[in-house]
């Protein structure tokens, strides 16, 4: 009798919670903040460009006016630093890169805590559980969820199948194969740049980190910088040698605009760049039929691709965080991420990745299938460690970039370059 009463009570409480949940969902009203204006600080990259093509849809759905301030990435951060240091409410929502500044901004208290918002004020079809757990974890600091993922991305190799065929090169299966392929292409066709990737100092840690992890290296060991460990030195040597011996002239100034332009123009055989450069690389259609895409092949450390995602978040100083959250959840909803997916922005949701419309878009071109297959590897095996896992991550990237550039320009030996970097980074670590 007591057991039956307990079971009944238990069932009643379950039903009550369920009813409360569906009552909350049923209560959800997109027009709740109609008439308000939300200020959005965006980074001008393919992700925001894809999102903002649907800006009018958001405004029509909610009645909220969206004011957008768009800058190039570095200028966006500078504006953000100015606004946040002043504790200003002029920005309600901004884009953020947790792998770069997440720890820093979280420690500075610049992110609103999105955890309660994801529970209390969310549309019934939002599907929070469908978001990539890895990306949500990467955006969580001290138990607080600080941003919602907008995309999933990482560096992949775009390579020319026709040049490989002409030069008798097979698809690389290891990092050593990548170098061997570059060597063969150089001998076969000197007019083509065999390999291009980032050489610009602040930008190269993004691509270098994949080499480091695949070759079994690690930025920190025992709380100290480990760039002079054997595996880290091997990674520095390999990455810089690929760019120095097989990269284009002037590679030390190359970041994604120059790299994508070179590959799209047909002047490079292998391009190791971000997966969301797909749209840029395929612009004009010249590379649609002669490009294959793979993640960076395994090294001694296996295959540990760099996997990051841009996030969108609410400012801790916003005077209307709830209205701002409406924009954030709309921007990261399954429906909107589906629309962005067919513009080449890889979705951080498996439901969208398996959506029939998206799959149809993927199946239209073989290169898109390969792109998705590479992204599946990134999603399954990736790490979001780009640069040192410390609060001063952006400053740590300077030392990594300087070490690689010293080697590309033959200004220092590997031992000298790594020692100088270790010294600088250990000083940075000890400041904390």
């Amino acid at each position: 009798m007591r057991a039956r009463t307990f079971a009944a009570q238990f069932m009643l409480s379950v039903i009550a919670v369920g009813l409360a949940g569906s009552a909350r969902a049923a209560d959800f009203d997109w027009k709740k903040f109609q008439g308000k204006t939300v200020d959005f600080l965006a980074n001008s990259n393919p992700i925001s460009q894809a999102l903002l093509t649907h800006k009018a849809d958001f405004e029509k759905l909610t009645g909220i006016t969206l004011k957008v301030d768009t800058y190039q990435e570095q200028q966006m951060r500078q504006r953000l630093v100015t606004v946040m240091n002043a504790h200003s409410d002029e920005v309600d929502v901004f884009m953020t890169l947790p792998s770069r500044e997440g720890e820093q901004f979280a420690a500075a208290g610049w992110y609103a805590d999105l955890t309660p918002m994801t529970k209390n004020e969310v549309a019934p079809d939002y599907d929070y559980a469908g978001l990539s757990p890895a990306l949500l974890k990467a955006a969580t600091y001290n138990g607080k969820l600080t941003s919602m993922p907008m995309n999933i991305e990482g560096p992949v190799i775009y390579y020319r199948t026709d040049i490989f065929k002409k030069c008798g090169v097979d698809q690389p299966k290891t990092i050593a194969d990548v170098e061997a392929a570059a060597k063969k292409v150089k001998a076969c066709d000197p007019s083509i740049t065999p390999f291009v990737s980032r050489g610009l100092k602040p930008a190269l840690p993004y691509t270098f980190s994949n080499f480091l992890h695949n070759m079994g290296g690690s930025y920190m060991v025992g709380g100290k910088s480990a760039l002079c460990s054997p595996k880290d030195k091997a990674a520095l040597d390999t990455y810089s040698r690929l760019l120095r011996d097989y990269g284009p002239p002037g590679v030390v100034n190359y970041s994604f605009p120059q790299i994508s332009a070179l590959y799209r123009a047909g002047r490079a055989a292998m391009d190791f760049e971000a997966s969301n450069e797909l749209r840029t690389v395929m612009e004009g259609g010249a590379r649609l039929k002669d490009t294959a895409i793979i993640p960076l092949p395994a090294g001694d450390g296996g295959q540990v691709p760099t996997t990051i995602g841009w996030g969108i978040t609410v400012s801790a100083y916003s005077k209307q965080p709830d209205a701002a959250w409406y924009f954030v959840q709309w921007a990261t909803s399954p429906a909107v991420q589906k629309l962005m997916a067919v513009q080449g922005i890889a979705p951080p949701r498996s439901s969208v990745a398996n959506d029939p419309t998206y799959r149809k878009w993927i199946d239209e071109q073989p290169v898109r299938k390969e792109w998705q297959a590479a992204l599946d590897v990134l999603a399954a095996k990736g790490t979001s460690e780009v640069g040192y896992p410390i609060v001063a991550n952006p400053e740590s990237r300077e030392f990594i970039g300087q070490a690689v550039q010293n080697l590309i320009l033959k200004q220092k030996t590997v031992d000298q370059a790594c020692a100088e970097a270790d010294k600088g980074i250990d000083a940075l670590i000890s400041q904390k």
Binding site: P249, R267, E398, Q405
Partner: protein, 295 residues
């Protein structure tokens, strides 16, 4: 009595003028003084990547002295300043003479000559970044077509400073030329008539008459360009971001990165105030020189 009444009326007029212009003066002083005072205050603070920490007195300035990057940045700034200034003054005077003497040049040609300095520095930087790309740029294409070896231009630690100096010279020579042209047009024709009567050659006329008389104008142009060149930023930020390595890392670029990328606002403020002091020192020095050469 009449004089006393006049003096009172003048005093009243002066007071009225002061009262009317006071809001504008107060606003201007506030807009200049407040940021400066606030930056000085910031330079005595320490900031970490997560925000303001504490008052540290002169520690940021002491750090400057032992910071190799500061001295390197200062060296790059001075090399760029001297090379760019010399080129712009020489070519600026030459262009001014061309524009002054070639009265038959059409307005279109004149406009083309002076158009570079009307271009925003960001646009100029992006344009030259594309032209000087070692793989895809027109510059190397032209060089190789002429049988000459290509260059790494902005990607070469050796050539990056001369290349940036040339880009800045391309953009700002017309500005110097316009200032010097104004000076040329104000020179008294009587000295040239006297020189002609005395049978002086063109070169002697230029060396003994035109150049000395133009000195005040040239010094004015030097002052105006010095303020910009010592704060060299736009072209470098767009094209190299201080690279390759730190070969083009001027003081302004370094301070900007310390402040806005590493969030060390305190040290960045100290760096920028030091640069401001250098610029002010240069302006004061050239002002004294101007006083010495005025005729």
């Amino acid at each position: 009595m009449a004089e006393a009444a006049d003096t009172t009326a003048q005093d009243r007029q002066r007071q009225e003028l002061a009262a009317l212009s006071a809001p504008a003066v107060i606003f201007t002083v506030a807009m200049i003084a407040f940021p400066l005072v606030y930056t000085v205050w910031l330079s005595f603070q320490s900031f970490s990547a997560t925000g303001r920490e504490s008052v540290v007195g002169f520690a940021n300035y002491a750090r400057l002295i032992s910071d190799n990057e500061f001295w390197h940045g200062l060296w790059v700034t001075l090399v760029l300043y001297v090379s760019s200034l010399v080129l712009q003054l020489v070519f600026g005077v030459w262009l001014a003479l061309v524009l002054f003497h070639s009265r038959r040049l059409s307005g279109v040609v004149r406009s083309l000559f002076i158009s570079p300095f009307m271009m925003p520095p960001v646009v100029a930087g992006l344009m030259w970044l594309v032209i000087l790309d070692p793989s895809l740029g027109a510059a190397n294409y032209i060089l190789t077509s002429l049988g000459l070896p290509p260059s790494d231009w902005l990607a070469s630690p050796t050539f990056v400073i001369p290349t940036v100096a040339l880009i800045d010279t391309w953009q700002w020579t017309p500005y110097v030329a316009l200032i010097v042209l104004g000076g040329l047009q104000s020179l008294p024709p009587s000295v040239y008539e006297a020189a002609q009567i005395d049978g002086a050659s063109g070169f002697k006329t230029f060396r003994r008459i035109t150049l000395p008389l133009l000195l005040p104008t040239i010094v004015t142009a030097t002052i105006l360009r010095s303020v910009d060149l010592l704060r060299f930023f736009d072209i470098i930020y767009i094209t190299t971001q201080g690279g390759p390595g730190d070969a083009s890392n001027t003081l302004n670029i370094y301070g900007f990165r310390v402040g806005f990328e590493f969030f060390n606002i305190g040290y960045a403020s100290a760096l920028m105030l030091t640069l401001t002091a250098i610029v002010l020192g240069a302006v004061l020095a050239f002002n004294r020189l101007r006083g010495a050469v005025v005729w």
